[in-house]
Amino acid sequence: MMRSNLPMNKGLLPLFMLGWAGVAWSGCDDATLMPAILDAENNAENSAGTVIGLGYDLQCSRKSERSDADSDTDELDSDATIQFFEGELRARGMLTGDADENPETLQELMGAASYVWSAAFTIKAGLFYRLEAEQTLDERQEAYGARLTLGKMGLFADNDALALSLNLAQIDPETDTARAALLTEKLDHYDRWDAELYFSYPMKGEPLEKITVSYRYFREQEAPAAIRQAGLDRYRYSKIMFWLKDELYLAYATGELPFDVAADQHVELGWSYSL
């Protein structure tokens, strides 16, 4: 895999991010905003209390022509195998008024090419390039590699949903203060894999509509001893959300994502809104 030559100095990075988000916004598909009230747990270095956040998710994708396997009959086959290639651009993250108090500070910009196949279950696999940064853009890195997502509905109940998403990436840190402080040599690339396990269980009772659980795990391969001792070689983040009517939700999250400001635990009350 080749290293990107994109301009990553601090002056150009915001412009790059704005441009990419603009492409995703105007290009097509989906633009979702999720206002939320975030309550980050305080720690010695940060005085985070309750902060208002705005989650964003801008997506643009293009799919290849699909096969015409049964185009000689008018019978509708619900078991037909699905397969196609897809190219995507995406920007997502959570913004808060005071960036230093953002408990979900990870911002992501991604481009990817994938192959999708679906029959008894659905699988999506491909290659990706991703820029990860915290909201202030002081800490940022590139990631590129391979990814795989599996999904299946109806495993434990009629309409529950289970999905597993895996990424194997080479990380190229542009700036990473915590990492740089621990390593004597200059920042170098390293390998990391991450996974997200997602489960959704529908509820019919009042007032719950459904319960969703998401668990994310990041691990650096063969991390230097200093990185391991500082606990920067692995990150865990889990979130359980109780969905009420009218898209209101109550969420409890624990753990942290890369670049997070030690948000060990926080409770979130919010609602989902799409532009």
């Binding site: 699909r66 096969s67 619900s78 679906s118 279950f121 959704s200 529908p202 998401s214 939700y249 799409s274």
Partner: protein, 122 residues
């Protein structure tokens, strides 16, 4: 002219398949009656993966849901493809594309169903 939510086979089948307890059970009729279902967004359906912002997970689960939706349509109604040259997987994917968009409405889903699927009584 934009597609209208009305008491035709496509809209009724879309609504019933999503709402029925022995269907996909995505909402309750008491909360969302047929007459008020036109602007209901996909993100309000119980299957929608609102608990994650992972687009790949949303996409694969939308394909799973689209297949279940079509399977129930075939089971509950006498349906065929509107056009022979459009493949079954294209129809499932068109439905999945709508299901994956959080702001897409039941009217948009019924429009795809009407355009792609022919009901026996039509």
């Amino acid at each position: 002219m934009a597609y209208q939510w009305q008491a035709n086979l496509a809209c009724i089948a879309t609504y019933k398949t999503l709402e029925a307890d022995d269907g996909l059970d995505q909402f309750e009729e008491a909360d969302i009656p047929f007459s008020k279902a036109a602007d209901v967004a996909m993100r309000r359906l119980r299957f929608y993966p609102s608990g994650t912002d992972n687009a790949d997970i949303i996409e694969v689960l939308s394909i799973e849901m689209a297949r279940r939706f079509v399977k129930l349509l075939v089971k509950r109604y006498s349906v065929k493809k509107q056009k022979k040259e459009i493949s079954s997987q294209q129809i499932i994917m068109r439905i999945a594309d709508v299901l994956a968009k959080p702001k897409a409405t039941l009217t948009e889903l019924a429009e795809v169903v009407d355009d792609a699927i022919k009901f026996a009584d039509e």
